[in-house]
């Protein structure tokens, strides 16, 4: 059984909480004591059915202060697949929340209110989906019951959305007409929408191909997290490089190069605990042994000799600013790129983008939720790939060393 991670984009007004609540409820993922707690809270819809939105309700701190705390994770499974939903609520801090939730998503559900059609918010959400390189988008046209299940409404939204995303880089887009409130096309195909012959939302989620075309083309990358050296009498010479494959795969005998030093060797052994493996697949946490003793420590990366990434101190990145304190050009921030941390400074602001109009402007102010492209210079060389071709080796964060907060997300694009 495999695992699909998806994010839901939309506001409370679009019925997002109801949609998630409906998915959990109709897949029998809500247990009796949780239902009982909902019934105690006694929130009902106008027609007397329980308000499913409460299933995604926030913390006491959020309810009391009327704020939203970025991402909540929800888990459910069916016979066919396991699912993790990253539910990113909120209006004001939406960009930051959605970028956080989207960073690990395989698919994004974009909710559109059938009565309102494609609006500014839809454009913003879709832009973020393309910025974070989520390969699959599912457009759920919700509240179909409020427009008499009219096919013309659905078709118009589909046409508008295709137009909107024409310039965005999104791999695969699918469309489903639903009513989360009434349960239409959520788990089973709705008799109210006979003109739609595609799958229900759940049916789609269970069967959609998780977009692996990127993974197949990825080059092999192995950032070293930790060096295992027992230094006991019987394991005197044992030296294993512990880490996780974040692209491609490695097998015993492969010629590899350690970056940034550039020393080369070949893989002698791959193991996980006491188990010996012939191949380390993408995503696997393993321990690698090399034929020669070369100097490798945490933050270094093993790559195949004939598949080398960019190694540079200069690079450009799409950036999303996530802190209330704006970007300070005089400050040297810390950049964390998997196990490696190095100082960076802003070399040049290439542009800032207006996420509502997608217009680029030259601006030197990056405040909370601002997005743009910046050129950086780092103290140590980084071994990276373009974010679009390898998220794990192209994604990084900025940390403000004065307060240790994570202040920005970086999607590295290229070096100059």
């Amino acid at each position: 059984m495999d695992l699909l991670k998806f994010i839901t984009a939309g506001s409370v007004d679009d019925g997002k909480s109801t949609l998630i609540g409906r998915l959990l409820y109709d897949t029998d993922s809500v247990l009796d004591d949780q239902l009982e707690a909902i019934q105690r809270a006694n929130r009902k819809n106008n027609d007397g059915t329980i308000d499913l939105a409460i299933l995604t309700d926030g913390l006491k701190a959020e309810r009391e202060q009327g704020i939203t705390i970025d991402v909540a994770y929800k888990y459910f499974q069916t016979e066919k697949r396991k699912f993790i939903i990253a539910d990113a609520p909120g209006h004001i801090q939406y960009t930051r929340n959605m970028v956080t939730g989207a960073s690990n998503a395989d698919l994004a559900i974009i909710l559109i209110d059938a009565r309102k059609g494609v609006i500014e918010q839809t454009r913003r959400h879709s832009f973020l989906v393309s910025l974070l390189a989520i390969p699959n988008v599912l457009v759920c046209v919700n509240k179909m019951d409020m427009v008499d299940y009219d096919k013309a409404v659905f078709d118009k939204i589909k046409t508008d959305y295709e137009l909107l995303t024409g310039n965005l880089n999104i791999g695969q887009i699918d469309y489903i007409p639903v009513s989360a409130l009434k349960g239409d096309n959520i788990v089973v195909q709705s008799p109210n929408i006979p003109w739609y012959d595609g799958q229900s939302l759940l049916g789609f989620l269970e069967t959609v191909t998780i977009n692996h075309h990127l993974t197949d083309k990825q080059q092999a990358r192995f950032p070293v997290q930790w060096v295992i050296r027992p230094q006991t009498a019987e394991l005197h010479d044992y030296r294993g490089y512990a880490g996780r494959v974040i692209g491609g795969s490695f097998k015993v005998g492969d010629r590899v190069v350690a970056l940034p030093s550039g020393f080369s060797s070949s893989i002698k052994k791959i193991e996980l605990s006491s188990e010996e493996l012939s191949v380390a697949e993408n995503g696997a946490s393993v321990t690698i042994h090399l034929a020669e003793d070369i100097d490798i420590s945490r933050g270094d990366m093993l790559v195949k000799e004939d598949e080398q990434p960019e190694v540079s101190q200069l690079f450009e990145a799409d950036i999303c600013w996530m802190d209330t304190k704006p970007l300070d050009f005089s400050h040297m921030y810390l950049l964390q790129h998997h196990g490696k941390t190095t100082k960076v400074k802003v070399q040049d602001v290439i542009y800032r983008i207006n996420v509502d109009t997608l217009e680029k402007a030259s601006s030197d102010h990056f405040g909370l939720n601002d997005i743009g492209q910046i050129q950086f210079k780092s103290a140590d060389s980084l071994a990276f790939d373009n974010y679009a071709s390898n998220k794990a080796n192209g994604g990084a964060i900025l940390i403000d060393s004065r307060n240790n907060l994570t202040v920005a997300a970086l999607m590295i694009t290229k070096s100059e």
Binding site: L59, I69, V99, H338, I397
Partner: protein, 296 residues
């Protein structure tokens, strides 16, 4: 990759990040299935080397004897260091006051012992077995969750956590709680325990014992429960779904003796795991409030 392989690889990655990023980490070990699973994952992450952290147990003094026996056997087999913080010591030192009455529990007191133990040893990271599917406060907590110098969790000031980049930078006196199995569900843990053939304390499996009914829940008839003439002691076939302190962990009637039966039982169960925890029933925000105070 199968989902259990994905979850395993993610947890090992997180454990190794702890080793790489912190000076003095610790693994919080309760003797429950989640922390036993963590120990198994730590073996995968660091063997044949030693763990780069000790195991830390906060002992309320009201543990199931089976859990303590299991803990000691496991430690002996692992050859790793165990540090025990005793709630009794906090009581004796006058730092906390023992609750009185029938529903008295030391569950709330252990937060003080935990924070004292962290401070005494200077731990900068504490690895825990909490999962996001357990409870809605946990659903919003980070994998690297920063606690201030008072041990408090502030849900409003959490750092954004993107991709697999975990920011563990802290100021002196702060610590980070790390949850490597955040993305696992109860069923995932059991399926993994079955696949890896991980040994568990006997109380997870069906057995016969004396129980009493308190507040609608079956509780082990232990001396810590202040049993009096009003309590009816019955001999029933039960098992425990979570293992905490005897005063706050309820049993379920069960014939499930083999792990396959337990997995079937959980699949069919309509009550969530924490439904058998008295500590969560106090109020809707019980877990959130305890976490803010420094709880696991």
């Amino acid at each position: 990759m199968d989902y259990l392989d994905q979850l395993e690889a993610e947890a090992i990655y997180i454990l190794r990040e702890v080793a790489g990023q912190f000076e003095k980490p610790a693994l919080l070990f309760s003797g429950g299935k989640d922390s036993i699973t963590l120990v198994h994952l730590a073996e995968k992450a660091f063997r044949p080397g030693k763990f780069p952290f000790p195991l830390v147990h906060i002992d309320t003094g009201h543990n199931f004897p089976e859990t303590i026996a299991f803990r000691d056997e496991l430690i002996a087999k692992l050859g790793e260091e165990l540090i025990v913080g005793y709630v009794q010591d906090s009581i004796d030192a006058g730092k906390v006051i023992e609750q009185k009455g029938k529903n008295a529990s030391r569950n709330a007191l252990q937060t003080v012992t935990l924070l004292d133990t962290i401070a005494a040893h200077g731990f900068d990271a504490c690895i825990g077995g909490a999962r996001r599917d357990e409870e809605k406060a946990r659903a919003k907590e980070r994998i690297f969750s920063v606690r201030d110098e008072f041990g408090q969790w502030d849900p409003k000031r959490q750092r954004p956590e993107l991709w697999s980049v975990y920011n563990g930078r802290i100021h002196k006196g702060e610590n980070v709680r790390v949850f490597p199995i955040s993305n696992w569900t109860e069923l995932d843990v059991w399926n993994y325990i079955r696949r890896e053939n991980i040994k568990l304390p006997s109380i997870y499996f069906s057995h016969e014992r004396d129980v009493i009914t308190r507040n609608g829940q079956l509780m082990a008839a232990a001396v810590h429960l202040n049993i009096d003439h009003e309590d009816v002691v019955e001999y029933r076939k039960v098992r425990f779904r979570t293992v905490g302190d005897m005063t706050c962990t309820a049993a379920v009637l069960s014939d499930a003796y083999h792990i396959d039966d337990i997995i079937d039982e959980i699949r069919l169960s309509k009550i969530s795991e924490r439904g058998a925890r008295m500590d969560d029933k106090v109020s809707e925000a019980a877990m959130e409030d305890r976490k803010k105070g420094g709880y696991f």
